[in-house]
Amino acid sequence: MESPVDIQDLEIRLLLETMLHRYGYDFRNYTHASLKRRLLQCLAVCNITHISEAIPKIIHDRAFLDQLIYAMSVTVTECFRDPPFYRLLRERVIPLLATYPFINIWHAGCATGEEVYSMAILLQEEGLYNRVRIFATDINGKSLHQAKEGIYTIQNMEEYAQNYQESGGKASLPNYYHSKYDLARMHSSLKENIIFAAHNLATDNVFSETHLVMCRNVLIYFDQTLKNRALRLFDESLVHGGFLCLGTKESLSFSEISDRFTPVSQDLRIFQKKRGIR
């Protein structure tokens, strides 16, 4: 016996297979509930009633695929999200990073870039920015473009100013952007050492050795299999003694790499890769 729910799940499976085989985008290991909701929302906007009706459109219409990918992978972010996290980064992690002559940072799943600029500001204030390279990656081309532009609404920036102060900021957030009408453009000096690039945690591999990996509130959208894949990449990329920063409700427990890291702060989810492991 079939229920309507089973049909919808079947349609989603077929749609995801289509995206994979036609274009190589693999969303099969994203968490089910969020993906389904985003998919249904996106299709409703396009006046598509049944999910399976989207399949021929995906096959023949690249612009439609891009729209779908945007809907399925966009994430909400903010500058200095979780101020206590940034405070700890500044007080405990940055002094250790400062001992390296050159520092590579990988910001995986950077979305529209607010947290990348937060990191750049922090590094500037701590005098490290001139020997840092930040790789800011995301699967979502449209988000990545917005991140590269670094233009946000003044209204949002004013809300972030409080985060910045609480995180131990040494100046004032408006020092780091130019305002025009209701928009804020991040200073170009912040962009100098950031490389924005497309990278898919589901299918791509490690591209560089890094000293710190930021991946916050991305793994919540992955199932355990895909989460493990992403964590393996981070482990592979990090030097011994390097740092891994996750979202405050994400954990390393039950993951394959949990015994290769020790917590700097369990509450704020900052971990350090052990030295002397293979």
């Binding site: 909400v76 355990q224 994400e250």
Partner: protein, 195 residues
């Protein structure tokens, strides 16, 4: 007719006045309670989880703020953390999300109810308590459509009657009860499940 063994989980939603309502409702349940409970209470994004610490003092069941991918355990009360939606995955684990607010809320009651209805179907019991919001009504309706049971706090007994009233108005309530009666009903449904 629904046979007792079909009961699989309870979802609870509340907003304004929720802490007091939960303090009345949750202590009713015995330490051997066999069903998992998932709760969305509207709280500000910068809350520190004090409400779960507080409720732990009054309840016989373990109360915890959910982490992403936590397994959903029988007899445990999983609370949505501040600033995150709480959803149920088909493998009966918790998935958190930072998707935009729904009904001006993150966590949103509708999102929990709808995802849980997909997973537990007629095995789900939905409970909507006091609140000054319209969140939860649509989710409760979906639980009903999937064959689950929906219990709504009697608006006359609610600190903020809007939320239960709205759910009743759209026909989402199987029963309208006082907090004590909801507690008693949940206890009974739990006892039936264990047999």
């Amino acid at each position: 007719m629904k046979s007792p063994h079909q009961r699989r989980a309870i979802v609870i939603g509340c907003s304004a006045g929720g802490l007091q309502a939960l303090r009345t409702l949750l202590p009713e349940l015995p330490p051997t309670y066999p069903l998992p409970i998932l709760v969305v209470q509207h709280i500000p994004a910068n809350s520190t989880g004090l409400h779960t610490t507080l409720l732990n003092h009054f309840c016989q069941l373990p109360i915890l703020e959910a982490n992403d991918k936590d397994p959903i355990r029988p007899g445990w009360v999983h609370f949505a953390p501040a600033g995150y939606h709480l959803l149920v995955e088909p493998n009966e684990t918790i998935a958190l999300s930072i998707d935009p607010k729904v009904n001006h809320s993150r966590p949103s009651i509708d999102l929990l109810f709808e995802s849980a209805a997909d997973v537990y179907q007629k095995g789900l019991i939905g409970v909507l308590l006091t609140g000054a919001s319209q969140d939860g009504a649509q989710g409760l309706l979906k639980i009903l459509h999937r064959g689950g049971i929906t219990l709504v706090q009697d608006p006359k007994t609610a600190e903020a009657p809007l939320m239960p009233r709205f759910a009743i108005a759209i026909g989402a309530a199987t029963k309208t009860l006082s907090l004590k009666e909801i507690g008693h009903t949940l206890k009974q449904l739990g006892a039936d499940t264990r047999e």
